[in-house]
Subunit: 404 residues, 2 copies
């Protein structure tokens, strides 16, 4: 057919750098003489099924660069998780437009979509090249050293904890910050990079990779508070008990038993509020504050890792190169080659699709409430240049004089 | 006595730039030959009563500069609101150390403390010069064009809304962001500076200066959602009904009547969660998300206005100059002299102490859910240089081809 048409789309939760990947595809594709049109689908796979395309070939490269530096998904995104039937509908539209190359930027679900579309095309003998481009703040794609989007979100979390630690030191008490990540604790663990001095918070870090025991949690907070006169805690939204039941449900139920009534599980601030309530009620500590970082951690404009920007751009570029010069569909993956350097490879879609990576044991301290130096070494280069730093007074004491 | 001793302390909620003011005092005081020692009290007035002083004269100027650029109160802070007896205790310690100049960086309560200490000294014929240095993210000190700390917090709020607007455009729904400020809506209003295009959020802004009516709120959200297919809302934590009852209490009570049980009012995420619940329940909109910006908006490291930094430094410097070359106790205030330029003056403590400024009518749109251009013009220069900007695709549509 030789239509010279390629299609790119963005799926799942937006990140600070997902537009870098989209622009990486668009600009790299425009360098190839056999490419005549670069289309973008609005709102991910939904926009393919709805045939809602925009022509990225008509964008100026100048504006594309500005969009690349803008957070969130410029083409729009979707939470649709296509089944085989949906993937068939995608394929029909690709065929109608004679699309020869399909690039989908997203996480686990998106890679699975690409896998099924790729199979549909093969079954129909339609010459489609399908490439999945990695993206997720959760850092939970297998086969990748890390995923674009994670470093910038990690930087936000590290900076947030560096700041709340200083705030908590000025007005001591207990602070609980709830971080995104239902199954993988990478983003919550990033809070450790906000710590500078030994007495700085976060003093305790709770990950979904370890069982969360409420009495143990209270004991941890109590002993930290007794030691430092304050306590800063990082908690993953996905913490659960040994049976896998989310702590949010357990605490909500306990409140019900206490005739305190139901709590809306869907309320995004609920876990932080309930953990604070436990600490206040069971430990008798007065100043207890909780924040849920919510959407700020993935969308805040102006907090981005330059390393993440660069790599997100490159996975887009490489996706086009793998498509043009290779003979395989696949998922682009980041491989670490130095301290700090990376290269890219194309993995089989089946090796990535629908699988979930969680934090390696080597990254989690034996206590279960801290990270290891291996994790600090892993994460630090990803956060990029210009990380803000916190300084304190040397504070020479003045002898007392008041005898009143 | 001529002890050559001065004392500086920090009170109330920390800000991104309160250390600039403390360092401004310390460095400027060290330039004066009659100053032999610059003491800092730990944790505000509490550290004075407890005689917990550090000798800032022994700090290197290099480290002081690094501390100045670090958010939160490096000397520590306090929520103590001194009464006359407490102020007398403060005065006794100042006398024991032969402190000749007392500088207190804080908001309304802190200015009132300085006022009472100043009177105590006069009554005792003790030669003390007492100066209040302004600071509050709420921007609610009378007599000031604006207060140090507010511009940086406003910048955080504007950047946060610029980001969540992009996120909400990618995955459409209703988003509610709750911002600090119990009586003054300045910080919530700053969300408007995150908006670039006409269809960008925040689409609705609710301030404590206007009565919050729940049915009207739901009608506003409904019509915005129908118009744009999404809705981003900024709400002040201090919104209340016509009788002054906080909306948080009203919604919690309504839930109780519905047999949904009590909700902890102290839970910091509660207002956002309850407003989202209302929208879901009454409007039947499925994707409704709420965030409470919490401590991030005043402590996040790496989000600061350079204008705010400069002015916070200057109010500290000017406080020392007013003390050394003037003959009056007072409160340093910022006066706007150009677009954009400021100067500083010393106001009577009685003119500032214990009073609360709220948003002027000229800053609030007739709709009650937006700000005016007068407010945009007022706030923009305060946010400083290097504000991140959001760009979108021009998005030329592609004609449909699928006839299936």
């Amino acid at each position: 057919m030789a239509s010279g048409k390629i299609l790119v789309a963005q799926g799942g939760g937006p990140t600070a750098v997902i537009n870098q990947s989209m622009v990486g595809v668009a600009l790299e594709a425009r360098r190839h003489h056999n490419v005549q049109r670069v289309y973008g689908a609005r709102h991910g796979v939904r926009g393919i099924v709805d045939e809602d395309f925009v022509d990225l070939t008509q964008e100026t490269s100048h504006n594309l660069e500005l969009v690349a530096a803008t957070p969130s998904s410029a083409l729009g995104s979707t939470r649709d998780k296509p089944d085989a039937r949906y993937c068939h509908a995608i394929f029909e539209v690709l065929r109608a437009h004679e699309i020869e190359h399909f690039f989908y930027i997203g996480g686990n679900d998106s890679s699975d979509t690409v896998r099924i579309v790729s199979e549909e095309a093969r079954k129909a003998n339609y010459p489609l090249r399908s490439i999945h481009i990695p993206k997720t703040i959760d850092n939970d794609l297998v086969g990748n050293d890390h995923t674009p989007g994670f470093p910038s979100a990690a930087r936000f979390v590290a900076q947030a904890f560096a700041g709340v630690n200083l705030d908590n030191a000025a007005l001591p008490g207990v602070y609980v910050g709830v971080v995104m990540g239902r199954h993988a604790g990478f983003l919550t663990a990033a809070s450790a990079l906000g710590k500078k001095f030994e007495d700085d918070g976060p003093h305790l870090i709770y990950l979904p990779e370890r069982t969360f025991d409420i009495p143990q949690f209270l004991a941890d907070v109590k002993s930290t508070y007794e030691r430092f006169g304050r306590c800063v805690v990082a908690v993953s939204e996905g913490v659960h008990d040994a049976a896998g039941t989310p702590i949010l449900s357990l605490l909500a139920k306990e409140l019900e038993h206490d005739a305190h009534g139901n709590v809306q599980l869907s309320g995004t601030g609920a876990l932080a509020d309930l953990l604070c309530e436990e600490i206040r009620g069971k430990l008798g500590i007065k100043r207890v504050r909780g924040d849920t970082f919510g959407y700020l951690q993935r969308s805040f404009i102006g907090c981005v890792s330059d390393v993440d920007q660069r790599e997100a751009r490159e996975v887009g570029e490489k996706a086009v190169q793998f498509a043009m010069w290779g003979t395989q569909d696949g998922s682009v993956a980041i491989r670490r080659t130095g301290f700090y350097s990376v290269d890219y490879e194309l993995l089989d879609l089946a090796a990535v699709a629908g699988k979930t990576r969680v934090m390696e044991d080597a990254f989690i301290a034996a206590s279960g409430t801290d990270v290891t130096d291996a994790f600090r070494l892993y994460l630090r280069p990803l956060l990029g240049s210009g990380m803000p730093d916190a300084f304190r007074l040397r504070a020479a004491p003045v002898p007392r004089r008041n005898t009143a």
